[in-house]
């Protein structure tokens, strides 16, 4: 079976299984678990093949844009695929039990999101085409949004959901820009093709910009400084989602992308150091914030952020060991952190108490959970013989061997000290230390929920005891993939007495010390409000609030509701454009026009029109205004008559007459005088605007006169009017034949205007009805 088919079937199963779960609980839940489980088995079976060479499957999508759904399964993406489907199986099992007493709709909806997320995630890590990767990347952001806000009636959940969405999708758009620029410079979106021939990309002047844009996308997704704030807030999601998305899988997408692109990006010398700097800063800040946190899940969330920072740093470090350390750390972290979240979920679910310092004495009530927590915490603390120990050894080795030795090791020691302390605290606090005040335990542990953490804890132990199981099959291909060339990996438990071991011992010792004085440290740090100001999501709210304030200001300014201002603005802009046209045109503003005929009648008529216009503009009486407009209208008719257009003149006279008749009728319902609504200043402005507008039109008309008219069309009309169209009245022939469609359109205008007026002027008009009576039923 091809990977493509497996993913497609997985997607179909992900969509259908939750519906079954809504309908038939037991069978449905089994199906929901079966989908990721089968995928896990499938990917497990690919281990051998991928160890030899990456699996590539071509699937065209939008070839004209160079976008394909090509699958590329190398060691690194297979590692992710196994984590996603494996932990996905446990999450599905866990969630089905976690949501047992909820309504079918609630449960099915949650499982639907989780499974869809799994499908999107698998597609992201197996995508060869960067655009396809982006497509699925954004889908994971969306599903994360839906899961963070899952308890949607709570305002905090909605705010956290929006925040995670804006940050990750915003970063995603930066990523999109980077990817498009890769397409522009390299001519391909395929990762495989880029790896083979990175030269056009690396040599492009846009290379730096591309790296920054993609880095920004990755940092938002993986909650690196300065975008670290959204992940702890995302803990508003139900715990199974937190375990899955916000610790084990989705948040690792950013580092996944950086690691995948690292062989190319590291050709920019600053790439590695930048990652080390941001990763290190993230580690320190997250460690500090973890110490300041009270809620169980928040502590775990900050430790996740710290771990992501660690991975970022590892990607930035040079050397073969760094590649192995990255892979080992991703594996170990996914195993123990998901387990810890599972345990936290069980505890919170049973007690309804999210705060760590209120919990206690639960070991007797939920022994299995306690045991699983111990297993996971040992691995998290980096104690032998757990896989966490091995990964930490490699971490230290990578730091020591890199070019940043001192600073990297210092950060590593500090942050891992806090990690050890957290591991101790999350074991001791809820399970083995008595509760400070009475804790109400609603129920014991359900099998469905304990399977996950126990399994993950045991796997962590197994991989630690027998690292050979994964060394060549999983770690080696994955590390080779991100290193860019094949590596000979030695992944084993006992390295001998090395500096790394010394560091490990130091870290554990310090960690125990911190754990012992957790409360005083916690309280002391928590009091320092300065950290809130610097480290939490104030920056985000500052940007959001100010953007909205700016938006409100601009909208009030522009869309202020006053028609007169709208008209004035529009007229000003239009006049401005026309003045520009006059000045930018090719020729003098006012051309000289040769006009030999000076017709006294015309002067009189034009004078009449001008007088009419001024009367209409200056008067405050409606009647006078209508007389003014009428004067101009009849004047125009005279112009037509004097220039040999009897049809036009006749029409104009009729229109003017009917206009007066109709307006008179309207007038009977309106006040005859209107008050001046514009201030004198505004009126002066209006007048000058009108004058400038008129001058530009005047100039344009002069230009029409100045350039000889091309008479082909009117001559043709005159010529064939009788011979071809059988009419001597050219105007009429133009109307009903040459340009009959225009006439048809215009009679339609007359008809529709009349219909509209007919409806609008109905007798029980709004003017007579009470306003409240009408809008009630309006849509």
């Amino acid at each position: 079976m091809s990977v493509t088919l497996a993913l497609a079937l997985g997607l179909i199963g992900s969509i259908l299984a939750p519906f079954a779960a809504a309908r038939w609980k037991t069978i449905g839940n089994a199906l929901v678990v079966a989908v990721p489980a089968l995928l896990f088995i499938f990917f497990f079976l690919q281990l051998g093949a991928v160890g030899e060479a990456p699996i590539v499957e071509e699937n065209p999508w939008v070839p004209s844009l160079g976008i394909a759904l090509t699958i590329r399964l190398d060691g690194f993406s297979l590692l992710f695929a196994l984590l996603i489907s494996g932990i996905g199986t446990l999450v599905a099992l866990y969630a089905a039990s976690y949501m047992d007493e909820k309504t079918p709709f609630y449960r099915a909806q949650f499982l639907f999101y989780i499974l869809l997320f799994m499908s999107a995630m698998l597609a992201t890590v197996t995508a060869d085409n960067l655009m396809a990767l982006f497509v699925f990347w954004e889908m994971t952001s969306l599903l994360s949004f839906l899961l963070v806000g899952f308890d949607s009636t709570k305002l905090a959940a909605r705010k956290a959901a929006l925040q995670s969405m804006l940050v990750t999708v915003g970063g995603g758009l930066s990523l999109l820009a980077g990817i498009i620029l890769i397409g522009v410079t390299a001519g391909t979106f395929s990762i495989g093709a880029l790896m083979e021939n990175p030269a056009p990309l690396v040599e492009s002047p846009l290379f730096t910009a591309i790296i920054i844009l993609m880095m920004a996308g990755a940092f938002t997704k993986s909650a690196q400084v300065p975008f670290h704030f959204w992940l702890p807030n995302a803990m508003a999601a139900p715990t199974p989602a937190s375990a899955y998305l916000h610790s084990a899988t989705m948040v690792k997408l950013g580092v996944f992308l950086l690691a995948t692109m690292a062989p190319i990006f590291s050709q920019a010398a600053w790439f590695g150091p930048t990652l080390v700097a941001f990763g290190g800063a993230t580690m320190l800040i997250a460690a500090l914030q973890a110490l300041r946190s009270t809620a169980f899940k928040a502590v775990l969330a900050f430790s996740t952020v710290a771990s992501l920072g660690t991975i970022t740093m590892l990607i930035g470090l040079d050397g073969e060991v760094a590649a192995v350390a990255t892979v080992g750390f991703i594996l170990a972290h996914a195993l123990y952190k998901a387990a810890l979240f599972f345990c936290a979920g069980i505890v919170i679910h049973a007690t309804g108490e999210p705060r760590l310092n209120r919990l206690g004495g639960l070991a007797s009530v939920m022994p299995i959970t306690a045991g699983a927590t111990v297993l996971a915490a040992f691995s998290a603390a980096g104690l032998p013989p757990f896989v966490g120990f091995i990964s930490k050894e490699y971490l230290f080795e990578a730091q020591i061997e890199s070019t940043f030795t001192a600073i990297a090791v210092l950060i590593g020691v500090l942050v891992n000290t806090v990690m050890v302390a957290i591991a101790v605290v999350v074991v001791m606090r809820p399970f083995f230390r008595p509760a400070r005040r009475e804790l109400h335990v609603h129920h014991g542990e359900a099998t469905g929920m304990t399977v996950g953490p126990v399994a993950l804890g045991l796997i962590g132990l197994l991989f630690g005891l027998a690292p050979g199981l994964v060394a060549t099959s999983l770690i080696q291909p994955a590390a080779s993939a991100i290193y860019g060339e094949p590596l000979d990996v030695s992944f084993y438990l006992w390295h001998g007495f090395t500096p790394m071991l010394a560091l490990s011992i130091l870290v554990v010792a310090l960690g125990l010390l911190v754990a012992k004085y957790w409360d005083p440290i916690h309280v002391a740090l928590r009091r320092r409000r300065i950290f809130d100001r610097l480290l939490d999501d104030r920056g985000y709210y500052w940007v959001l609030d100010n953007t909205l304030a700016l938006a409100r200001w601009s909208t009030l300014r522009l869309q202020n509701g006053d028609l007169r201002i709208y008209t004035a603005v529009i007229a000003t802009v239009v006049t401005f454009f026309m003045v520009y046209a006059l000045l930018a045109g090719d020729g003098p503003v006012f051309p000289s026009v040769n006009h030999p005929e000076f017709n006294l009648y015309m002067v009189g008529v034009v004078g009449l029109i001008i007088v009419g216009c001024f009367v209409a503009a200056l008067t405050t009486s409606l009647v006078t205004a209508i007389i003014g407009v009428g004067l101009a209208g009849y004047g125009l008719a005279l112009v037509f008559l004097l220039n040999g257009g009897p049809d036009l003149a006749l029409t104009q006279f009729s229109v003017e007459t009917l206009f007066v008749v109709i307006v008179t009728a309207v007038l009977l319902r309106l006040p005859l005088m209107f008050t001046k609504t514009r201030t004198p200043g505004e009126r002066r402005y209006d007048a000058s605007l009108a004058a400038v507008f008129a001058l530009t039109i005047f100039s344009a008309v002069l230009w029409v006169e100045a350039v000889p008219f091309n008479p082909v069309i009117p001559e043709y009309f005159a010529q064939v009017s009788y011979t071809e169209a059988f009419g001597r009245n050219v105007v009429n022939v133009v109307l009903v034949d040459f340009r009959a469609l225009d006439t048809f359109g215009e009679i339609a205008v007359v008809a529709f205007a009349a219909l509209g007026a007919w409806a609008l002027l109905r007798r029980n008009n709004v003017a007579k009805k009470k306003p409240a009576a009408t809008p009630a039923k309006e849509g």
Binding site: M139, L582, G585, V701, I713, S721, R762
Partner: protein, 528 residues
């Protein structure tokens, strides 16, 4: 040989429908039947036209059998054909929506004639190849839209309609003045003919003024910054069905006319105009999305988003490379469907939650989960999330601007995308997630007549998103025609038409009396 009569039906069918509906003024039942038959026929005709254009490329038709430039031409290039097809689809969708949304008193007030009249105007504007004829369709559109806008005669509708009417009328007058100048300068109104003549002419201040008048007129119609005031002032007051069709089509006619004018008649040369367009595009996007961000009424939010999305389309004009035009064309098509669908959804949300004010509704995810799914499709598409139609639209315009090194414009487009997502998620969070602030007294149902069109349009959005290849290819063809005027001009002056025109003009004496009789088109202009 392509059947050029296909060009006729998308205009003739709706006007006939409108006319017949008016004939049955007192018989509402008959009007409904006529209207529905007309919608189905229109849809079929517009699909047929598009298929013909896909097969044969640009097609043209002369009305009255008069050769160009003497008679009126209709021309369908890929962009115009696609727009007509979408109009047909949208009209049908809104027509179905109207079965429930249009109330008896709207029907008595002439809803059906006006509705089909508006469709006539829109299709006419898309298809015509004659500048004055375009003006006529603009008038048809304006006057029918005024009638539709005020159809409930509520106070707020009157207020909105006055703003809409005054500002749009101003734009139409500018268009008319521009036309008069253009005719005076060139002696022709046929756009293909103008496309041949104008590039060779000196751009005198007079001609430049004409160009600017067109720009201003279409910019008002399209709702560009800073001329868009009429749009947010009026759209939310219309009934839902009317709002949907307005939101989908009207501004896009302005955009289409701008594209047509500034690719065929006046070519954008020189940096100044390009900077101006870039600035306008960016400001349109920003001010539009800003307006949306601070609203609480769904339709007000959506109205402002029309403006911001128009900015994206204008990126095509600012960048003016073939891919930019392709992107802009794709954007128009995508946006019509999505925006109309969202307006219909606003109606469905009101039906389901009791209000389209976000502060007064809520809890719809629980009570109407399918409505939530149907909402997410166009909402996320509008925000440009993959793999929906809006993603490809945004991808194409941003790709075009990055290729042409318009980095600032691309950045604005991306940031505006985030803010668009913000306001879509605001609707989602308030209407679907938040618990309802009022206890609903009974279970509210969304009528089937609402669901069918929403599903139809949503399915199109999904189809474009998932199977983008043919649509992208089509948009590229549309872009190619826009950058290459001869592709548009040649079919108008087909072999047979050119021969006929040549023979007639040659030699023969001209009847002087007839000319003196005032043989120009002034009469039509005075009818207004």
């Amino acid at each position: 040989m392509a059947d050029t009569l296909d060009l006729l039906w998308p205009v003739l069918i709706p006007i006939m429908t409108a006319a017949l509906a008016a004939c049955f003024w007192h018989n509402i039942r008959a009007q409904r039947i006529v209207s529905f038959i007309g919608l189905v026929m229109l849809f079929a005709a517009s699909v047929k036209l598009t298929m013909t254009v896909v097969e044969h490329g640009v097609i043209a038709k002369q009305f009255g059998g008069w050769a160009p430039p003497f008679g009126i031409s209709f021309v369908a290039d890929p962009l115009a054909a696609a727009l007509v097809a979408i109009t047909g689809l949208l009209a049908l969708a809104v027509g179905i929506f109207g079965f429930y949304d249009v109330r008896a008193r709207h029907e008595r007030a002439g809803f059906y004639p006006l509705f089909h009249g508006m469709i006539t105007g829109v299709n006419g504007a898309f298809l015509t190849g004659d500048a004055f004829n375009l003006y006529v369709w603009f008038e048809v559109m304006l006057v029918t839209s005024l009638g539709l806008l005020v159809i409930s005669r509520s106070r707020e509708q009157l207020d909105g309609t006055i703003k809409y009417g005054v500002l749009n009328l101003f734009g139409t007058i500018l268009f008319l003045i521009g036309l008069a100048l253009l005719y005076g300068a060139t002696g022709t109104l046929n756009m293909a003919d103008l496309g041949q003549i104008l590039p060779g002419m000196t751009l005198t201040p007079g001609l430049m003024t004409a160009a600017m008048l067109f720009l201003a007129a279409f910019a008002i119609k399209a709702g560009l910054f800073p001329l868009f005031f009429w749009l947010p002032a009026s759209y939310h007051t219309a009934t839902f069905a009317v709002g949907a069709i307005f939101a989908g089509l009207l501004t896009k006619v302005g955009v289409y006319a701008t594209f047509r004018t500034f690719t065929l008649l006046f070519l954008i040369e020189g940096d100044t105009l390009r900077y101006v367009f870039t600035f306008i595009a960016a400001m349109t996007m920003i001010t539009g999305v800003f307006g949306a961000a601070v609203q609480w009424n769904i339709r007000r939010i959506l109205s402002f988003h029309i403006i911001s999305q128009i900015g994206y389309m204008l990126m095509g004009l600012a960048i003016a490379t073939p891919i930019a035009w392709a992107g802009a064309s794709f954007y128009i098509i995508h946006h019509i469907i999505v925006k109309a669908n969202l307006f219909l959804l606003a109606g469905a949300i009101r039906a389901a939650g009791g209000s389209d004010d976000l502060r007064k509704t809520g809890g719809l995810l629980k009570s109407h989960p399918w409505l939530a799914v149907l909402f997410l499709i166009p909402a996320l598409s509008l925000a440009g999330l993959p793999p929906l139609s809006g993603f490809w639209a945004k991808f194409l315009v941003i790709d075009a601007s990055l290729r042409a090194e318009y980095y600032g414009l691309a950045a604005v487009a991306l940031v505006v995308g985030v803010l668009t997502l913000f306001s879509m998620m605001k609707i989602w969070m308030e209407a679907f997630w938040k618990a309802s602030p009022v206890k609903p007294s009974r279970r509210r149902y969304v009528p089937v007549a609402f669901i069918i069109p929403i599903v139809m349009l949503g399915a199109v959005t999904m189809t474009i998103g998932l199977f983008a290849e043919p649509f992208v290819t089509f948009a590229r063809e549309a872009g190619d025609v826009l950058v290459d005027p001869p592709l548009y001009i040649a079919p108008v002056f087909g072999a047979e038409a050119a021969a006929e025109a040549g023979a007639l003009i040659a030699g023969e004496a001209i009847d002087a009396d007839a000319i003196e009789n005032g043989a120009d088109n002034g009469v039509e202009e005075e009818v207004q």
